[in-house]
């Protein structure tokens, strides 16, 4: 009797979950190959200045207003929220500690990255998506240029180098706005604010935030360029690519934040065992 192979076309909940998992694994594999291709080109050919500088200007300089607003409000919001709790325990003077530690280690890098995923990631994805649907990417190939080397590598470099710098800027603005709000509005002594901050915030807190932002920058660049490169036809396709770039970047930023936070804390415990670790 010959084997009777049939395609399973059932559409139960389990089948839907299975299809979703397969799609996610395929997407992860595709993004990984895309990233490896990009790294390959990064190693063999550094982009020309006339290609790199405009991208850096777009990603770095034009993001400064967004970063000022983000950093400024994070610092003040942290001060407002923490003040009430600290006031209940009569520890208002130590407000600077919690504002600055939270800002440098966690909220500064994450919120800056999320804002940049929205501003830079979506715009890169829409730009590359438009180039895809108007055949400009094919035209690059036809003219002897590699689209990944020409379009993705400069954007990756700009995000990889500038997002940590923008994060430092957001941190600085957040620290200043938190200090200003705490001292000028909440009435905390400036001396106590900085005294406790100095005692409890160390360089490792600052650098762990910067290490995270390097990963966030790379994630935003790779995911956004990947979605743009695989944009479907039409305005709807480009819009969808831009939305996916933001959503995927946001989800991966949160996952990386957890993973890197855990690893950096463990690393701290190994390097400086006398200090506090997670476990």
């Amino acid at each position: 009797m010959s084997a009777n192979l049939q395609v399973d076309t059932r559409d139960t909940f389990v089948h839907s979950i299975g299809r979703m998992v397969i799609d996610m694994v395929a997407l992860a594999g595709d993004v990984t190959l895309f990233a490896l291709q990009m790294v390959g080109w990064l190693l063999v050919r550094w982009p020309r200045g006339n290609v790199l500088w405009p991208v850096m200007y777009q990603i770095g300089v034009l993001s400064v207003p967004v970063i000022i607003v983000t950093g400024g409000f994070i610092g003040m919001v942290l001060a407002v929220q923490a003040y009430e709790q600290f006031a209940l325990m009569h520890m208002e003077n130590q407000l600077g500690t919690v504002v600055n530690v939270t800002l440098l280690k966690e909220l500064g890098p994450v919120l800056a990255a999320v804002m940049l995923a929205g501003r830079v990631g979506s715009s890169m994805s829409a730009e590359l998506g438009t180039m895809r649907v108007t055949e400009q990417i094919d035209a690059l190939t036809a003219l002897g240029a590699n689209p990944v080397a020409h379009l993705v590598v400069p954007r990756f470099l700009a995000c990889f180098l500038l997002i940590p710098m923008l994060t430092i800027f957001a941190d600085g603005i957040g620290v200043l706005s938190g200090w200003w709000f705490s001292t000028q509005v909440l009435g905390i002594e400036g001396f106590h604010y900085w005294h406790y901050s100095r005692n409890y915030v160390n360089a490792y807190d600052f650098w762990s935030g910067i290490v995270k932002s390097v990963f966030f920058g790379a994630t935003i660049a790779i995911l956004s360029c990947h979605r743009g490169f695989h944009s479907r036809a039409g305005a709807e396709g480009v819009g969808r690519a831009a939305t996916e770039a933001f959503v995927y970047s946001f989800v991966v930023i949160l996952m990386l934040d957890f993973l890197l936070g855990f690893l950096l804390m463990e690393f701290y415990g190994v390097m400086w065992p006398s200090q506090a670790g997670l476990m």
Binding site: M131, E135, A139, A142
Partner: protein, 264 residues
């Protein structure tokens, strides 16, 4: 002498959707091959397969008798420069002005000095009837459809290709500008001894430029054993074809097609 470009039993599908099935054709040096067919029959896909911008699902593409799949990626990039491509909507780079668009391939692939590039770009713009001093610094968004097509043609010609591929060169243009583009195709062919492949459904273009015509038919309306190339011959033979699918198409007679559409 081996043909400049050849497809051997090429099939292409996107996901579950077949576009081309077992298509074989070759282009001889100096000839102008025109590929006609309804929208969606795979004409543009055929052009992209010829340029290796898409890879065939099965079958082979040969450049100068050599299978493209046997070439290293560096050889593919080098050999591809012998083929110029005019895209359907010109595909000019939005972020670059006209000069930078035309100079792009030269900057990317040659060691020409800036004055030499300037000279080549100006000559190419003049060849397509554009005045360099007026258009060089304009951005693509500031150009009309006909000007964009001509800049796209200048950009392709700047690399001095041996074969030119035109993807629907007259689509979206008024009759006068369409004729300008047709004349440019002829002029380029005659001056540069260029081999040309033109994809179009503009019968004016077919009559004007074709040495040989091929007609592709959509797979969805073919029987599994029918060939996808339903006609091959001269433009005159296409107009006199006894096959109603060919004669209806070249005459623009939609009665049979409308009946099919309404029935479906």
């Amino acid at each position: 002498m081996s043909s400049y470009l050849e497809l051997q039993n090429v099939s292409k599908h996107f996901g579950d959707q077949p576009i081309l099935r077992d298509v074989s054709l070759s282009v001889q040096p100096g000839e102008t091959l025109v590929i006609i067919g309804e929208s969606g029959c795979g004409k543009s896909v055929t052009m992209k397969l010829m340029m290796n911008l898409l890879r065939p699902s099965s079958g082979r593409v040969l450049w100068y008798g050599r299978p493209v799949c046997d070439l290293s990626s560096r050889e593919v990039v080098r050999e591809r420069l012998q083929y110029g491509y005019l895209f359907q909507m010109a595909a000019l780079f939005d972020s670059l002005d006209v000069f930078e668009n035309v100079a792009f391939g030269l900057r990317q692939n040659t060691s020409l000095s800036l004055p030499e590039i300037q000279q080549r770009v100006d000559a190419c713009l003049k060849d397509v009837g554009l005045r360099p001093e007026l258009v060089s610094r304009k951005m693509p968004a500031q150009l009309s459809g006909g000007m964009r097509k001509r800049v796209g043609l200048a950009r392709a010609l700047a690399m001095r290709p041996r074969v030119m591929l035109y993807d629907e060169p007259t689509t979206g243009l008024d009759p006068i500008m369409s004729d300008v583009i047709n004349q440019l195709i002829l002029r380029t062919r005659d001056r540069e001894q260029m081999t040309s492949i033109v994809v179009t459904h503009d019968m004016h273009t077919v009559r004007k430029v074709a040495d040989r015509v091929i007609m592709l038919y959509p797979l969805s309306r073919l029987q599994p054993d029918e060939p996808q190339i339903i006609f091959e011959g001269t433009a005159e033979e296409a107009f006199e074809s006894s096959d109603p699918r060919v004669s209806d198409f070249v005459r623009g007679d939609a009665v049979v097609r409308l009946k099919e559409l309404l029935a479906s």
